[in-house]
């Protein structure tokens, strides 16, 4: 069902956990639907220096969270805003069709975290 890459990121997720001193936090999804992602970022000089996540959800949701935090680290905020559902799925060697929309909330959560950070800067 899942690609080897998804299984790897699901069974050994990177960047798990809360980040008490996060500069931005974004949450997407709803437990009623089965998937919630919470993304924390640390920002320095417009760059994401660290990212963490907490996720309630299925294998795909956890793998997507792991992957999106990996990808975001080291990116500028503008670069990170270009991460999409499609690019995440691609980085994971694909996702089953029924998971594309429900469980692939990583980009949205990340974008919300960036928004949160920017709002705080104002």
């Amino acid at each position: 069902m899942y690609s080897a890459k998804v299984m790897d990121h699901f069974t050994n997720p990177r960047n798990v956990g809360e980040m008490p001193d996060a500069d931005g936090i974004g949450t997407e999804g709803n437990p009623v639907c089965g998937d919630v992602m919470k993304i924390y970022i640390k920002v320095n000089d417009d760059k994401i220096t660290d990212a963490k996540f907490q996720t309630f959800g299925c294998g795909a949701a956890i793998a997507v969270s792991s992957m999106v935090t990996e990808m975001a680290k080291g990116m500028t905020l503008d670069e990170a805003l270009k991460i999409t559902k499609a690019s995440l799925a691609e980085a994971l060697d694909g996702l089953p069709p029924q998971k594309m929309h429900c469980s692939n909330l990583g980009a949205d959560a990340l974008h919300k975290a960036i928004e949160d950070y920017r709002n705080k800067q104002k």
């Binding site: 709803n30 437990p31 639907c33 998937d35 919630v36 309630f56 469980s103």
Partner: protein
């Protein structure tokens, strides 16, 4: 790695004796059972023997058994066949809210075809109240269909009482016993059943063979028309090896039933006892009146499919009613009907044991399951409670 199959409610491994019984009907006795020469007549005889064994398992007469290809087919056949046969008398049908999809979706089809359907509620243990059945009956009611045991929460329904009520009111009573027949004693006489569905793959028989019991004298309209197979009530060249396998599996189930229960049920109790030691793990379904091999839970703060996958990575095979694990992407209607909130229903997980399950298997499971729960809770944003959870319904994404 150890492989521990705890999903017997999904399907069972084939019993080796069953396969042995089937093999000659792939090879020598390949004829069409309608043919009047040797390879056909051997096939015919084998089918009639299997019919006797299947009938004996549920205390029916052989001629009351119609072979089908799946539990779903038996259920569709029962509902549509009785609805069409009885529509002159009335067009009202009663089912419960925790029926299998093959009943619920057939009921919805019949609604479109002009029948009225009452969907009875269940209590928090998943049990239908016979009083509700009685109240739902109208002059128009021609059929009551109540599941015998829920594959999702294990609850055994008070089918005998409901059958009694049906009989007193002159209404035909069907029970979907796909998840119970072969696992617990099922007697169509004491259940007051007029029709009963069962499937071989639920008791170490092959996929592709199932049956509908239809009490002598009850008229049913065929679902599959054609030749004269199954007394003209279910056409199609018979799947001889699978039917033979069903017969053999029925024979074994009858012979070994109590032995299997005595073996499985204490292991299941041990599993449940251990699982409930972990915080925020709740048993679903009836605490006592449940299938002897059945343990089902909701685990708070985490999601079912993730549990299944991590369990599978440890060699433990199980099932979930979570939206994520079902391609329907909807929270299990059964869990919703027993009052489990949708976000909790996502944490559903079901373990069903079999005769090959060992004490060792359960010990290994009991070690592994709490580890997996805590691992996923470490990842979860809700690990300390559901606070921050929006209460909104899940619509946007579906």
């Amino acid at each position: 790695m150890k492989k521990i199959y705890l999903d017997h409610v999904a399907t069972n491994p084939l019993h080796p004796e069953v396969l042995d019984a089937m093999l000659p009907y792939f090879k020598e006795h390949y004829g069409n059972p309608l043919s009047i020469y040797e390879p056909g007549m051997k096939a015919r005889e084998a089918i009639e023997n299997a019919r006797e064994s299947a009938a004996a398992l549920i205390n029916a007469k052989p001629k009351e058994i119609i072979f089908t290809a799946s539990g779903a087919e038996s259920n569709n056949f029962a509902l549509k066949g009785i609805a069409y046969a009885g529509q002159g008398k009335g067009k009202h049908i009663i089912v419960s809210r925790i029926e299998h999809h093959s009943i619920l979706n057939t009921a919805r089809f019949l609604e479109k075809a002009g029948f009225a359907v009452t969907y009875l509620p269940v209590d928090k243990n998943g049990a239908v109240n016979p009083v509700d059945v009685d109240k739902a009956i109208t002059k128009e009611t021609i059929l009551i269909s109540i599941i015998h045991a829920s594959p999702e929460i294990g609850t055994i329904e008070p089918v005998a009482e409901i059958g009694q009520i049906a009989r007193e009111n002159g209404i035909i009573f069907h029970t979907d016993a796909v998840s119970s027949v072969g696992n617990i004693p099922v007697d169509v006489q004491s259940l007051n059943a007029d029709l009963l569905s069962f499937a071989a793959h639920q008791f170490y028989g092959p996929k592709g063979a199932a049956a509908l019991y239809v009490k002598e004298g009850i008229r049913i309209v065929p679902l599959i028309y054609g030749g004269i197979q199954e007394g003209g009530r279910r056409a199609g060249t018979e799947n001889v090896p699978a039917i033979v396998g069903m017969g053999k599996a029925a024979e074994l189930a009858k012979r070994d039933m109590q032995k299997r229960i005595d073996h499985i049920s204490p292991l299941r109790d041990k599993l449940i006892g251990n699982a409930l030691k972990t915080d925020k793990v709740l048993l679903t379904g009836h605490p006592e009146k449940r299938l002897p091999n059945h343990a089902s839970f909701v685990v708070e703060y985490i999601e079912g499919e993730a549990m299944l996958l991590l369990l599978a990575a440890k060699g433990i095979y199980s099932a979930s009613g979570s939206a994520c694990s079902s391609k329907a992407l909807k929270a299990s209607p059964v869990l919703i009907s027993i009052g489990v909130p949708a976000h909790l229903a996502q944490g559903s997980v079901v373990f069903t044991l079999g005769e090959e399950t060992t004490e060792d298997d359960i010990n290994y499971f009991n070690e592994t399951f709490p580890q997996i729960i805590s691992r996923l809770r470490e990842i979860s944003p809700y690990a300390k409670g559901w606070e921050g959870m929006e209460g909104s319904a899940c619509t946007a994404q579906k």
